[in-house]
Symmetry: C2
Subunit: 315 residues, 2 copies
Amino acid sequence: MTPLCTQLKLSTPIVQAGMVWVSGGKLAAAAANAGALGTIGAGSMKPDLLAQHIQKAQGLTKNSLAVNVPLLYDKAEEQIDTALRLGIRIFITSAGSPKIFTKKLKDAGAFVIHVVATPDLAKKCEAAGVDAVVAEGFEAGGHNGRDELTTFALIPQVVDAVRIPVIAAGGIADGRGIAAALALGAQAVQLGTRFVATQESSAHDNFKQAILRAQATDTMLMMKRTVPVRLMKNAFYEELKAAEEVCADKEQLLQILGHGRARAGMLEGDLSAGELEIGQIAGLVRDIPTVEALVARLMEEYRTVSRAFPVFPKV
Amino acid sequence: MTPLCTQLKLSTPIVQAGMVWVSGGKLAAAAANAGALGTIGAGSMKPDLLAQHIQKAQGLTKNSLAVNVPLLYDKAEEQIDTALRLGIRIFITSAGSPKIFTKKLKDAGAFVIHVVATPDLAKKCEAAGVDAVVAEGFEAGGHNGRDELTTFALIPQVVDAVRIPVIAAGGIADGRGIAAALALGAQAVQLGTRFVATQESSAHDNFKQAILRAQATDTMLMMKRTVPVRLMKNAFYEELKAAEEVCADKEQLLQILGHGRARAGMLEGDLSAGELEIGQIAGLVRDIPTVEALVARLMEEYRTVSRAFPVFPKV
């Protein structure tokens, strides 16, 4: 166990990422029942729908549940109030300053985790009273930092920068990755892409199947200078790429991005015009197991790797 | 030990990267004497100078030495012939097809390692008879692949794609990183940035001091669509960045790049107009030890980490 896992009452060091469109109450409850931190992704939900997903998850598990709230949404505070009212006491906040809601959440007795992409932001989180950080690397799917720090470079530098626990995210989809992240000093790992391709995720089956077919080089971080997002290469990606190659400005890119692309891709299964947010580790994902079977396998792999390190005697 | 280390007669799983301007015979011999694979970077040397560095190194150590040959240089074959004539039997080739020289090197009894940035190129290396690959991630300093795969995502996908041994490169500067890379399935690690900041590297002291001052976010991969290279942010970087922001074409970028920028920066210490090739892990580098002290410390850190993995009992 790690101190963070003990504190959050987890029997594994795994956090199921709270993602837009794919992680509702069903996925979160399944993850929690498997000993991971089950997380509802509030980013794609109005407060009423979030309440429904929280209540659904709470009806399916007595284990630890979290809500992920991207702070850039105008309903972020309503989402937080809804989750607090329904008894949620673990929050993962992102895409905004840790100063905005940390005090309110701490005053309500919550454990606050903030997502960072640099050691500097991790220090600001610690100063703001945040309890732990998710340090997310460039290889992660979806929205991403502008400094392009990778998981391998980011984790040890964040671990050295702060005293609060660090959860590693980006590039992890099996027990080798969990062991590697813990070697770098993380106390837990957050997996997104791997959980999209499970029975319980609400991703459209077309999207799940596309992940199974994906190779290592089938994603790219787009809009690096404006709102960086890693997505799967498809017709929509080609459209963005063509615009970026002629130096389209932010307005033009946002126009291409339009509205509802993520929903169309990930929830409704439009593999061509939809936005398919997915990480570089998609190439490792080759099946769609139940969450219970997945977590058991990840931990078995972790145990095998962590017990079998090569020994190099002193010369 | 790992099979690769046994085969190459190494007492540590560490490869000192062969880098332009900073890794001559002195650094390679020191690394070899410390139980790592000492590598002379031929990329910045004419064949005569390479011969001098090889002979110098051979006079300082009886341990394993390698030569790194970037195949894009027009003198690559002369460099290979020179090294073979002087008894070098471990080659690290990069920046070109593994089909060009692998047969010639194997016929001469050499062990051939090729640098790759994708699982697909690793498969091509295996098919061409290459003995091992260095899989180098996006976070690495210097020249880099266009697919932007990070070490965390790249290593397990390369390990799964081929049967030959994989050496992990990019983002590694301490024993935590070595343990993490081995957890991902690598049989050894290649360290570049960390070895630049040693007593024995021929980097200019200005450059070494700049590495000590560097923060995690002080590098960026530039020229991503033409000849990607990761370098430290300085006036030269700002010049490239300004050109890229207005979509300068390859010719214009190469004109800014000019000639001799790397030599000016790394060997002659021009921190402003020079090209300073360095990785994202520079932020972890805080001293300029001897190679012997560095390797001993890295292995001590590795032993500590690899023996102390958290245990998560089955529930």
